[in-house]
Symmetry: C2
Subunit: 459 residues, 2 copies
């Protein structure tokens, strides 16, 4: 049954107050599918639907809703219902919701949680935003060195019900320091009397709770893991992070970078859900900034109005030249921003990158210069459009192209380093931003070149 159809059926059942029917309909769906169907309703109706589910199911379905839907729903629920669900949520999903709620509401809800969950929630929220700590869950099992495999399996049998993963178990010492990870297969495959310490190889990978979430993505990729333990500054085990959260982090970071590269603020909601006014607002801010920046081109062109009056043909090549600078800048910026995001390039590489980009910029500029030269020469052979001084004009265009492409390449590649060095997001040096910068300087390069080459002939 499609998402639309399920929502429609649920809507009819809700209108008819057929609560048994709703329970039956939802029982046949996986929690993610229930969430997708329930998402289509108004918050008040959603709250009603959730009241029909047993708390355990309600929580699971709730966890699969997008955070902005969760937030609206919390406002629509009574305090008791909201606290019940938030108390039962996985710690990682709960953190993602709590950090979006208004501070007062967040504080009130946390205060009403059970003491155990309150302590976990507060501890996780204590980690900085975008840190690995905020992704952690405390639903994992620890083993001790002196346990036998049989004792470990008993421990799993009695405590394994609510854990995120049983694939990997963690061995800690008396102070909670992480000693090793042990795969469940090793426990299952060894004789029952084997000690945990004999299963250990003391080679394990862990994340630091205060590190940036991008570090976690890179580590998961490098070591190809589906779950990793997280330690504090003293090596103490403080939580685990699972691969599904990392996939979300990676996809959301890529979306954010793509939106920023496209020259706007990132949308926090899916394109089809976001309201039109929010959509326009997210785009208008940067569009206006770029427009105001681009007004400098009018100022720059204004300075060369006299030249244009003398030789209108010069104006003809302005779009071609500035767009070539913009395009080469956009290439360089996209390359470097993505390489930084996935950790291929770090701040200390700026000099190596600059060297490569000087060579690339010169090579690319030369290629365009040759094509530009050919174009003007060939056209001039058949038409008088470029006048008697066509060769000097061609030289002006070609030299400008080399300068503009080199400048575009350099600004596009170095701006991300500068922004990162200043503690800002490199993706903010979006392609249009680089293009605007390059447009103004490109005009100056072009008209300066024209002044030097064409003085006494066209000018």
């Amino acid at each position: 049954m499609s998402k639309e159809l399920t929502s429609q059926v649920l809507g009819e059942l809700l209108e008819a107050r057929n609560f048994m029917g709703i329970k039956a309909a939802l029982a046949g769906l996986t929690p993610p599918d229930s969430a997708e169907a329930i998402k289509e309703f108004e918050p008040a109706e959603q709250a009603a639907l959730f009241r029909l589910l047993p708390m355990q199911d309600a929580t699971e379905v709730f966890e699969y809703l997008p955070v902005d839907t969760q937030e609206r729903l919390i406002h629509a629920m009574g305090n008791e219902q909201a606290v019940g669900i938030i108390d039962a949520m996985s710690p990682d999903d709960r953190t993602a919701l709590l950090e979006e709620l208004p501070t007062a509401l967040c504080a009130k809800l946390i205060n009403d949680l059970s003491p155990k969950e309150r302590a976990i929630a507060l501890r996780l929220l204590d980690y900085p935003e975008h840190s690995i700590g905020r992704l952690m869950t405390s639903e994992y099992l620890v083993l001790r060195d002196d346990w036998t495999a049989a004792e470990a399996l008993d421990h799993i049998r009695s405590h394994g019900r609510d854990q995120e993963t049983l694939n990997v178990l963690y061995v800690v010492d008396d102070h909670g320091k992480l000693l090793d990870d042990v795969r469940i297969r090793e426990l299952l495959l060894c004789p029952l009397e084997t000690k945990v310490k004999d299963l250990r190889d003391s080679v394990f990978i862990s994340l630091n709770a205060t590190d940036d979430q991008e570090t976690a993505v890179a580590t998961f990729r490098k070591y190809r893991r589906n779950v990793l333990p997280v330690v504090d500054g003293h090596g103490g085990l403080v939580g685990i992070v699972t691969g599904d959260d990392i996939l979300d982090v990676a996809e959301e970071a890529a979306t954010e970078d793509i939106h920023k590269l496209g020259g706007m603020e990132q949308l926090d909601e899916p394109y089809m859900n976001i309201s039109l006014s929010k959509l326009v607002q997210k785009r208008a801010t940067w569009l206006v900034i770029l427009f105001v920046g681009e007004m400098l081109t009018a100022t720059a062109m204004g300075h060369f109005e006299e030249e244009i009056e003398k030789a209108a043909i010069l104006a003809v090549f302005v779009p071609l030249i500035i767009s070539s600078g913009g395009n080469s800048g956009s290439q360089a910026a996209s390359l470097i921003i993505r390489a930084m995001a996935i950790g291929e390039v770090t701040l200390k590489d700026w000099w190596k990158v600059m060297r490569r980009e000087i060579y690339s910029g010169l090579a690319l500029g030369l290629i365009l210069a040759i094509i530009g030269m050919l174009r003007i020469s060939v056209w001039s052979a058949f038409s008088p459009i470029y006048g008697p001084h066509w060769f000097l004009l061609a030289l002006t265009v070609s030299f400008s192209l080399i300068g503009v492409v080199l400048w575009g390449t350099l600004s596009g590649s170095m701006l991300p380093f500068l922004l990162k060095r200043l503690g800002l997001d490199p993706a903010t040096s979006s392609a249009p931003f680089v293009a605007t910068l390059v447009d103004v300087t490109g005009l100056i390069i072009y008209f300066a070149m024209a002044g030097a080459i064409l003085r006494g002939t066209l000018l």
Copy 2:
């Protein structure tokens, strides 16, 4: 020890032919770290280092090398060494390598594999490129309905050694049809005499082997899984896909889209590793295409040379107007391309998107038009720069901005749909591509508007 230091130590040991030392050095590293250190060497040296490792370790380290390094290394190895490693590789990593190798070499290597591995390799390569089938591994365990938990655990103990995951086990019928997935926790937590069929809830999520890999990413995200089973057209279990491969697919797809959005071919190698000539080549192709396209602006401007000669002031606003079109087009293209990539927007949404973008384009164009109008009015109040007809000029610029921004927004949002409809990658409608398209039409809009408004005054 840092990557550089490890490589240096290994290099010195290799030069001194201290093979015991190399073995000891590599034994202290995790396979991903060994791979990172070995990557720095020349292929012939890499082959020598691999010969020093036991086959099992060598294979694991080899699997962590990037595919292009693997490929060069295979060429440098003797046939026996290469076949040994390829035979022992995980089926999913092996497919990723084999699909990159020249056909003749690939056929020869497959032919030399053990019959069992040959059959697996051929079966996986039979799935289309970029299909989920190519990501599959056959290293999973199946259970039967009539087994008890004790029998299932025995089966795991005897066959669990080489499987990718033991977290989830798959129940199939006599014909290999997938009936359900069972988590190992359920086996561990239930009485030993429980039948597998009593553990089943028959609610499971699976992927289709021939579906696109992007579908797999979306499904993993929606259901928050770390592993999913893959079925053929008849529901038969043909393999599993693990979350680490999905994270790779998602990150590589995002990189590809970002490179394409930046207006170039995607780099297949990391920025810092790719040779300068390849880097220039990947960028030159699109830069030249865009340059040749942008030459149309020179043609278009050429048609308006007479107008520019009459009123050079018109040329002054050309960069401002065309870049506003380019920026709004770049925003729309990035939004839609990303929304398509993560499945938020599909082909059938084109009409809804078009309606939203018409509203957005009009709103954004209006905002810029008002700012443009203010700018020219304010400047004119203090300086004679825009002449006596400044108000008509301001009208020309403002109306052009509305037209150009609307047109930019529409082309940017509809081009991805058109490309996808034609079976091409929507990301090819890169921001610079949209900008080029919008530049030419933007010029025509602007000069047409000028002709209509300024005829008899400036023109």
